[in-house]
Symmetry: D2
Subunit: 272 residues, 4 copies
Amino acid sequence: MARLGENRWGKSAVRISKVHRGADQDDFTDLEVQILLRGDVAPAHLDGDNGAVIPTDTMRNTVYALAQEHLGHDLESFAASLCDHFLAKDRIDSATVSIAEQRWQRVGSHGFIGGGSERRVARVTAGGADSGIWAGVEGLVVLKTTGSAFVGFPKDEYTVLPEAEDRILATSVTATWRYSAVPADTSATWEEARALLLERFFDDWSASVQHQGWMMGQALIDAIPEIDQVELRLPNQHHIPFDLARFGLEYQGTVFQPVAEPYGDIALTVIR
Amino acid sequence: MARLGENRWGKSAVRISKVHRGADQDDFTDLEVQILLRGDVAPAHLDGDNGAVIPTDTMRNTVYALAQEHLGHDLESFAASLCDHFLAKDRIDSATVSIAEQRWQRVGSHGFIGGGSERRVARVTAGGADSGIWAGVEGLVVLKTTGSAFVGFPKDEYTVLPEAEDRILATSVTATWRYSAVPADTSATWEEARALLLERFFDDWSASVQHQGWMMGQALIDAIPEIDQVELRLPNQHHIPFDLARFGLEYQGTVFQPVAEPYGDIALTVIR
Amino acid sequence: MARLGENRWGKSAVRISKVHRGADQDDFTDLEVQILLRGDVAPAHLDGDNGAVIPTDTMRNTVYALAQEHLGHDLESFAASLCDHFLAKDRIDSATVSIAEQRWQRVGSHGFIGGGSERRVARVTAGGADSGIWAGVEGLVVLKTTGSAFVGFPKDEYTVLPEAEDRILATSVTATWRYSAVPADTSATWEEARALLLERFFDDWSASVQHQGWMMGQALIDAIPEIDQVELRLPNQHHIPFDLARFGLEYQGTVFQPVAEPYGDIALTVIR
Amino acid sequence: MARLGENRWGKSAVRISKVHRGADQDDFTDLEVQILLRGDVAPAHLDGDNGAVIPTDTMRNTVYALAQEHLGHDLESFAASLCDHFLAKDRIDSATVSIAEQRWQRVGSHGFIGGGSERRVARVTAGGADSGIWAGVEGLVVLKTTGSAFVGFPKDEYTVLPEAEDRILATSVTATWRYSAVPADTSATWEEARALLLERFFDDWSASVQHQGWMMGQALIDAIPEIDQVELRLPNQHHIPFDLARFGLEYQGTVFQPVAEPYGDIALTVIR
């Protein structure tokens, strides 16, 4: 004779980002949230009666909806407000909200360096036609809360993307450059190249990832005489405005859903 | 003096699943698609003029839209039809479409076992209050194209999920059971338990993941006397109907977007 | 005033493979083991006195040493024998051993297909000089317990690898082939190509990964007229004989340590 | 008629770390190296003649051997010296060496913070017996090049680990603490707790991971009155001295092999 023991349900891996817009600078919060509920749901298990089973999709929506008003730097407070929200529902006995915040390092007023996937790379081929010396950086995650647009693109029957005069731009930079002559101090040159890539990403307004990438590659060619070619790969790490209007909320341009897949995949080569 | 070299743009990691409904049985296709275009987009890089830059979001939509009509078992043919679609656009010179198909193993008329993450697990604790012997399976990915519903759930201001009388149900089963007595042949008992879990998943109609999980756990308790407790964790691997109506297409209930995150996270314990 | 609460220590992610050699066929077991101990180790925490702290490296060695004699198909029994071994030590109160077994599918007498990372791939490029149609398979994990050697290689001051007249060979096949003409039924041709790759891997004795790869690629060229080029990448997934002699045990050629990194990285192209 | 086209072989994912010992402070380099060779190895493919096939295991050993003398901050120079080494061998036509360097942030004279996996976490449970507020950090990777020992442990027939009076200690800190009362500013308290964890890891000599962990947990209890319990999980990310003596080289205590698996798995709770 079987009977129901401990049980819970919820939503895991809810990713949410929020821009805290300020007069002089923006802050940026990047979270992964999990909500787990316990309650009087034995009828759902035993009889297929979902009368108390709050859909996990609703839990997800609630995270975004409450984030617009309640999400600040105090994660525990935001978690508590989510708990309170669900505890007020019928037949819910307990709520657990877990939050993990990705750390970003501020650069300037609207820029951030994230993650820790960054690696300096070097590649030397000797012997044969492909001989050469390459240096580069991979996994350099950068994000800016403003300073990027995407408008004027062609439309067809499958286009629903709205034009964006101002949007979040985030990418994981992979840049590789070829040395026609080895610099005197390859580490110093690498640091200079990295600084130029960041400067052009954070300081230059761009009309697209392509436009941004061109300015980044061009800067290396212009500033470092030993470099004769730059290859850039710039996956677009989309942060989608989350539609709060369907909940009767006015969207304030602060709450976003980061999506890992699919992603825009932009690559270009800049040559001297 | 910098100039633009090789470049391309596109969309990577477009995940799409399609059910090929048949009279007696369904087929199921699970793809990851990448589209890369080359064309006359130097103005986008150099001047921020996006006139030829087909948005990668449009590429994604096109995959789903064309899949409804064109996606069968011939992947090369589907890739070619996507190439043709984009080559017909202004200022596009070349298109590359790459497809990777996850393999699923058919079980019965509407069921599939997927992935290869499945592992048999065993855990023994000796000494102390927690002593016991546990066995189980983890990462057993299963999907059925019909035989699952989710209706009658509570609604609030953040609920947009439609009721579903019939939906795809997919999960990665983690089931662990405790032996009150060690079976004579633990491998044979493990095989029996695994078969029961699959049978109940594929054969029993369910009103929710919770309902499905209960029937799976109950079956182990009923059939195997040495088991006195079963813990199940059943993440809901959502396959979302892709909205084709906004492109003027009639949705035929065959094209879905699998999403890895967030996911419904359901766990329960069944005890004797 | 702080005091020590619950604590435990152990070794996680101990990977071990064992060949069960039979008269007509071999069996193969592939495990990941975790050992966690509890005991009287407060002095280690508070005073740095390691008198009861069995090194986790010793735990690892014990897994391999006991596996030679005790590891069969009954995982619970092997876990229990490890528990007993550690419980017999001074000041150990409790032991938990967890095992996860990767599932392999037998092919023939000494071959196995593993994992579930296998994907069918297709790639079409239209427009431009690179136009073409490619098909392939990736992540097809295969292992054979005999039928592969590696001898006669050059030695220098950094060579310690012993010659092996007979060894385990395992790889994750990525094979991609170009069609000069599209086959009538691309799915049937794909199945034929996959079957040929497996046949040549499992049936043909090889003197190296390179040798094995050549026979696999050659088979596709010979059998399928539409294929004019095959690219193979065959990472060598090493299974290292675990040195039991230092424990006074005679090594029986059955217990191995699979290592994920580094790995031998072999690639070749076969053309018509 | 099949013939051999492009081919190469090598070793990928060779992980190596090096300590650059200085009078006042150490530097630390953490690399992943790949070596790929091309040469006259058609006989290996076609006839199983390995006369020119330098074993990939030898390539790996060469990385460690040359690193002791040649590896500094100039990655391109180290890559070039590896290329030169292999090009000097018989029947080798071309060598490509790729290096990726993980970036570590210096803290004090012998400490480093690595990776970017660090996340601030918060967990609130409301309703039911488990109610409580937890905060913490996960994935905080730290390493020190000195200031840790492991001696005086019990030995048995499977113990081969040498006693170490001074070793590299590296871990990925997961620390979670429970608040008996919510601090006025949870973000400020979190920063304080993180700083204490780092201080105790980098400043306190330890006799084991257990000893280090105790001091870390104790510091939180002592300094922050709102915390009544700390849970720590400290996987030991081993850096194994690479045995160069078998190549006739004197080991200088600077070259290590980081291994991802298996890993020592230490957990403890510190309570008020």
